[in-house]
Symmetry: C2
Subunit: 675 residues, 2 copies
């Protein structure tokens, strides 16, 4: 029995009607473009509807304020129900899953890391032994790689696995505090097995970190097995339903056949035998980073849908005619939302291009052709970093754009932000990811200056070949309108990327040649900022270019026009934010920079009436958004009041009474000076 209020509502019946009619393009056509056709769009709509209709999976605002213990129990229930409804255990976690909750499902890591590791790293016999049970979740496993003192630097992991020929077994051991396995998803409470990465030692000789299957809990009692110390690593900045765990192994003995042996074998005589090429493993595991690119623009788009709608309902201060102005009509508000709308669209189209490359690479690798692997790595590393960073910064700006109500968890903005926090760090720490791409770019640049190799650059690095020519060009546009055209903007994005790669390469060379630094020292201690800039600009250019290439293929004129504006806004925002390369390289002058700023403002103005169409083309269901301020009906204040009165656990009469007990000792008890 919900509490209904006596208060009247001033809300109009369909507050978005006029705004929706003003949009210049067909929203359905835009949606089909985003979802690669009507079929996938229907699939996404149906998938969301299942959640909205199911009492367990449906969003419930009363469950926001619960402890980790309760949260964990809640997500166990959701996971069970999810598997009941979607019996797709060969690929049990649907790609849209991450959008549906503020926390990941139980078993997300099991399905995305543990099961694939068996499929990729175990030999045929081992697969027979474990795979069926892993798929049915009788074996629930985790991927125990990171340690307390070592994360990104996998080669230096300290856990050991020593072969004991007498018993034909490995002894796994945690030698010191820093070697405790740490951060391992689903290890803390859920997993009964772990794939443990440990330094393989045979007869005193080290063979680097290798994967071992270790049972850690009893299958019946779920109690830790002897010699195993395991638990949850505590509360975090987000992902609090997830039981990231620690694992300490006190000389645990496992059979020799528990070393995952598709690519490395140890015989019962203690011989170490590599087999086949494990590059295919890496090629497959890159799928996780690809998924992050995908989530980057979906998360951003969901926040934008909420904030755009709210910005059309919220009014603030009167205009020159005494009528309250809708906040999206303020340039400052447009500036907080529309550039990120451009990011979301640009990232969506560049994702499609990257996915094609990913699939092409998998196909080639399956035929033992690894020619694309390095390029894909060089692309995905910084792409992951730039995308997750863009989305994080955007999400924070977007929640601020909604003022007080954006700060409320009922906005829906907060839960998704918290869910996003780990993305900067996990699956490749963002700075390290930039540096990996930078290293790749420097290599390509050095190739480009050698006549024998300059013609073998991959398409996304081709601009490096003619860098001398490119870096001598000057922008010739002379009025604001010319800066709305994509061609000169494209040149500037390319110039920026090229300038920065060349500059970083020169800096490295100078440090080595002039300052006599070791190349590694130069890379680590004297060029990091330039290298990160180079990788970032390379990805910005790649994203812009993918968007650009897509646009010129579009036949629908109104769609092409609005996307061209978004694409120009994407470029102009990146350029105006950081024009230093263009300036240092002499490509533009001060006047041109001024004109670009004006062009950017012009775009904000022109895109303002398209905002709701651009937001709603993403087709998020109200239940998916989980927002009191961003629903399709625009009933912001009515919903906030409803949730506060009926869904907030602190407003239950018994809770209010109980809390009064805790306040009572304070009331009137402060010794004040007599006045």
């Amino acid at each position: 029995s919900n509490k209904k209020h006596f208060l009247k509502s001033k809300m109009s019946t369909n507050p978005f009607k006029q705004e929706r009619e003003n949009v210049s393009f067909s929203q359905e056509a835009m949606a089909e473009l985003l979802y690669d056709g009507p079929e996938e769009l229907q699939k996404f709509r149906k998938f969301q509807q299942v959640f909205a209709d199911d009492p367990v999976l449906k969003f419930d605002p009363s469950k926001i304020d619960i402890s980790r213990k309760e949260l964990f129990a809640e997500y166990c229930k959701k996971t069970y129900r999810y598997h009941e409804l979607f019996n797709q255990s060969s690929n049990p976690i649907n790609k849209y899953c991450g959008l549906m909750f503020d926390e990941p499902l139980v078993g997300a890591v099991h399905h995305s890391m543990f099961v694939p590791s068996i499929q990729l790293l175990a030999d045929d016999e081992q697969q027979k032994k474990w795979l069926q049970d892993a798929l049915s979740m009788k074996i629930i496993g985790c991927y125990a790689q990171t340690e307390l003192a070592h994360g990104s630097d996998v080669q230096n992991l300290q856990t050991t696995s020593t072969y004991d020929q007498a018993t034909d077994s490995f002894i796994l051991n945690t030698p010191e505090v820093g070697a405790a396995k740490w951060w391992i998803g689903e290890l803390g409470l859920v997993a009964n097995h772990a794939i443990v990465y440990a330094q393989l030692i045979i007869n005193g000789q080290r063979y680097g970190p290798q994967p071992f299957m270790v049972q850690i809990r009893d299958l019946k009692t779920h109690k830790p097995l002897p010699g195993i110390d395991v638990g949850d690593i505590g509360p975090k900045y987000g992902y609090n339903s997830k039981d990231n765990g620690f694992l300490i192994l006190n000389k645990i003995r496992i059979p020799r056949t528990n070393m995952l042996s598709r690519y490395v074998k140890v015989t019962d005589k203690g011989e170490f035998i590599p087999a086949g090429n494990p590059k295919i493993v890496y090629a497959t595991m890159m799928k996780v980073r690809l998924g992050i690119l995908y989530e980057s623009y979906y998360f951003l788009a969901a926040q934008l849908t909420i904030a755009t709608r709210y910005s059309l309902i919220r009014k603030q201060f009167k205009d020159e005619n005494g009528i309250e102005r809708t906040i999206l009509d303020y340039q400052t508000q447009q500036d907080k939302l529309l550039p990120y709308m451009a990011d979301a669209y640009a990232m969506a189209f560049s994702f499609k291009k990257t996915m094609n490359m990913f699939q092409e690479n998998l196909q080639r690798c399956s035929k033992n052709d690894f020619s694309l692997l390095q390029d894909l790595h060089g692309l995905l590393s910084a792409h992951k970093s730039v995308s997750t960073h863009t989305t994080l910064v955007g999400m924070e700006k977007i929640r601020q754009s909604c003022g007080g109500h954006g700060f409320s968890s009922y906005s829906g903005l907060v839960g998704r932000l918290k869910l996003w926090y780990p993305y900067s760090t996990f699956e490749g720490e963002n700075t390290i990811m930039l540096l990996q791409t930078a290293r790749y770019l420097i290599k390509k640049f050095r190739k480009s200056i050698r006549p024998e190799s300059r013609n073998v650059l991959p398409p996304q690095c081709e601009y490096l070949r003619d860098h001398t020519l490119l870096l001598s060009t000057k922008c010739t546009s002379e009025n604001m309108r010319e800066f709305l055209l994509l061609e000169p903007l494209r040149k500037m994005m390319r110039f920026t990327a090229c300038f920065r790669v060349v500059k970083a390469a020169n800096q490295l060379e100078d440090q080595v040649k002039i300052k006599k630094m070791h190349p590694k020292e130069a890379f680590d201690t004297a060029a990091g900022s330039l290298l990160c800039d180079a990788a970032t600009s390379h990805i910005h250019y790649y994203i812009f270019n993918s968007f650009f290439e897509k646009i010129i293929q579009i036949n629908n004129e109104s769609i092409r026009e609005v996307l061209s504006k978004l694409c120009a806004l994407y470029a102009l925002t990146k350029i105006v934010d950081r024009p230093d390369a263009l300036y240092e390289g002499g490509h533009i002058n001060g006047e041109q920079l001024k004109l670009m700023r004006e062009a950017r403002e012009q775009l904000l103005f022109e895109l303002r009436p398209e905002a709701i169409g651009l937001a709603e083309a993403w087709n998020f269901h109200d239940n998916t958004l989980r927002s009191a301020i961003g629903s399709s009906k625009g009933d912001v204040y009515e919903t906030l009041l409803d949730w506060v009165q009926n869904k907030n656990p602190l407003n239950k009469p018994e809770v209010q009474s109980a809390l009064h007990e805790t306040i009572a000792p304070i009331i009137g008890k402060v010794q004040a000076p007599r006045l």
Copy 2:
């Protein structure tokens, strides 16, 4: 009985010893500079020690993961104990209080907003009636201004207070959903009184929003009084111990004498009589914004202390000699921390200057001299915005700089970040604050171009007077070393501020004269971005300048030298981040920008060995930092393991068993295809 682990620790006994010895300056002398002398420094140390020694106030990592209900009860206990120890009810909330917990104390708003409102807005008789009870917290009150549909726009609040002459009383009413009071701190659970802002209506005529004292809960039962609907507004992005509340008034009647009447009176005949000048009220209330400036650098400094220490313990990847490199030796890591160290120091010194101006203004106002009020408002508004923004962005970057362990709540970084989230929005929304300063600057600029008023500019706007001359200057520095000098950097900061103010003013004028816009429309819809840039650069220059002025007074040479480097780093970071004004205005060329980048990298290198000294000069007690990774002993991994094993509620055996119950239904229950 804590669980002790069998694992050995590799930690050295005093890991920071060498680093501390390498610092070039006296840390104690630096601390005394930061705290304005040894006395205040001792006070701060003692204050922190009290918390560290008290079982209730002391930080307890096991209390991080609790629900809002438990959190609220916990903070009631802390508040009671706090008042027991610090019986200073005339100013009960010490300025260091905000640093001591991850949540504000119960009564923080009562003390900072409600009590001062009585002191400032109530007439003598009313003060007699309420003040004593408010000081002893028998009356606990809140400041009920913001409504569901109106925040920043106070003039348009919708709650009404209608004078009824027949009964000599006011009838307070919430006319519709959007008029519900919302976000009011301490209204949800704690307050029994509220100062309600409502539109005063007498005989059908409106007199704007005025303050009314309204009792909302029974003093004995603490139950809401008839006609009053009150409660908590739900979970938030931070501040979750705080019971921000809503209030709906259903034609509540209060005596006429409950209108706070120091500056406005209503007689029993319904006459409205203004009295005195309420500007003094505003002058006093600005103290809240001043306090935010203070917290901005303290919060940032606390995070930096943690991250600096962690970056000296954490090692990652081997160097050219096969030895693991300390992460602070990477340029990328220096680039994440040292520029924010420069911000923290710069903001600390500019705070002192702003505080002097605040006090000068209060003194003048008490003599009915309001000549400084507008200038102080023009400074504080954007200062609040820029400072809170810098700290937010810095805190997020700093936690990312600590990788996985920065993501753990045990880092201490997370709780302080969450506590900081509302600062962008409360006490003046950040964008609106920038626009208020921008409006002030535009006015000053227009004054500066009129001969009769150009000589009355306040010192912080003096650069506008000679803007034509200033904007025609060119930077003449020609080598990297010259860009380490503060004088040319100062000119560039000044140039940037001036260029942006002039540009925004010209844009406004163009819109009005050429595009025939109404000035208000131009300001709101066509110049927002430029205006925000202008205000931001004005504050950057002000902060730089305050720091600069302080440095030239310092006699201690080693301190002056290191602070000069920090000050240069402050300027160079701002310039390299956004050099567009300097280009557009023709002050620098591309080559000079390149040199500034190099100068900036040089400073990162030179400041690296000073990092621990700069961090520890802030003198944060380990208990204040609340961090497993940033304590003075450097026992990062040992403490993390200890807290995880002994303080994490999820690792209690009974909790693990209970949670197994919730996992059991999933295990082995997923229908997998038979292989």
